[in-house]
């Protein structure tokens, strides 16, 4: 049988007051304390020590804590603080997801923006290419015009005015013919736009006997805004005429559709 002093010196009472004993050990200490007042006295002393020691190291309690703790405790708002705490955590969680959404939004918006920009850039490049092509085309047209103008300024060109005939009295055209080089230009600005499926065809005519030589069709009438055409070579002709023919041209002129005619 252990003596009360030995029991005290075993250190079990410290564990009892500190709340670290198992149920059977607690019952044993309580039994011993009931039986031996010296043990109960030692327990009371340890209660003072373990009560004072944490209190001695405690930071100064905030002045408002008494009111807050009392309010929460007596109102039984056991979840109020927990809610505050979870609200705190929820706020962090909310902040985290907000950040994730913002990041995703940023990636999405910037991605869309970059995609649109790249499409825009492609369009700009395409427009630039088209513009360049158009510019090249314009330069070519301009060069051709200059070439034609230079050729027409040659004083060796004969100018033949073609006047409107019964089929189109108000029409007119002009023909430039360089006999040495045999080249011919036709200014068809005075002709109406041909109907769909029809085209103008230029003829070199010899009157005795009447023969007609095909010099070519004015196929690009609607596109060629200047209506200035360089045609095939001819060495000898007494007159020139332009008829309206079916698309692709005709082997012989349709005299009923003779729009303009001019003698050399």
């Amino acid at each position: 049988m252990i003596s009360p002093l030995e029991y005290i010196e075993s250190g079990i009472l410290e564990l009892y007051v500190a709340g670290l004993l198992q149920t059977d050990e607690i019952e044993e200490v309580q039994r011993m304390a009931d039986e031996f007042p010296i043990i109960q006295k030692e327990i009371d002393t340890l209660i003072i020590i373990y009560h004072v020691l944490p209190g001695a190291v405690a930071p100064t309690l905030p002045a408002n804590q008494y009111e807050i703790v009392k309010k929460y405790t007596l109102e039984g708002v056991t979840y109020k603080i927990k809610n505050n705490s979870s609200k705190h955590r929820n706020f962090h969680r909310w902040m985290f997801w907000m950040m994730v959404f913002l990041m995703l939004g940023y990636i999405l918006v910037s991605g869309t923006y970059m995609y649109n920009k790249s499409i825009e850039m492609e369009n700009v490049v395409r427009k630039y290419e088209n513009t360049t092509q158009n510019l090249d085309s314009l330069v070519n047209i301009n060069q051709n015009k200059n070439k034609i103008i230079d050729q027409l300024r040659d004083t060796n060109y004969y100018i033949i005015n073609l006047e409107g005939q019964t089929a189109s009295p108000n029409s007119f055209a002009r023909l430039y013919w360089q006999r040495e080089s045999k080249s011919i230009f036709v200014d068809a600005k005075g002709l109406p736009t041909p109907p769909v499926g029809m085209t103008y065809q230029v003829w070199a005519l010899n009157l005795f006997p009447l023969t007609a030589i095909n010099l070519g069709t004015l196929n690009t009438f609607e596109i060629n805004q200047e209506n200035l055409y360089e045609l095939g070579n001819i060495e000898q002709a007494e007159a020139f005429g332009i008829t309206l023919e079916s698309e692709g041209g005709s082997d012989i002129p349709s005299l009923a559709q003779l729009f303009v005619l001019g003698k050399f």
Partner: protein, 170 residues
Amino acid sequence: MSSEELRQIYAKDGTSFDLLYDHFAKTIYGIIATWFSSSDVQNELLQKTFISIWNQLDDFKDSKEPLLTHIIRETRNQCIKEKSTADSNTNVSFVKLLHEREELPENIDQIGIQTFIKKLRPKNIKLIQSILFAGKKPTNIAHDEGKNVRQIKLNLRESSLEIKSIFHLK
């Protein structure tokens, strides 16, 4: 605490809360302070612990364990819950907290902090920290330190005798 005061606390009447708070708020706050250094967490845990203790007063009344024991145990449980980790060690040494204290209990203040700490041996400081503040079981401490449980208990008793001597308690 007198038996009359204890009866008043257990009665949960008009004066119960004030008595409970006056007597134990600092003890609870001191234990919490060795677990968490954030004053926000300390204050929140003080509130949680008081609510929990208040709600369990009837159970404590039926038990023969001292009220202080229930309060110490409940405070540590709240700290463990808050920490949400298997590692239930305290973070802050109670001796370090003692250094930081501005207002000290009269008996300790008279002795002087340095004297108090000088008289308490480092191994006993560590043991009190583990047992009282962290609630570590002697079997676990013995395992960690390569000692037997009996030796740990004897060291614990030795620390009590040191403190009793410093406080001039018989």
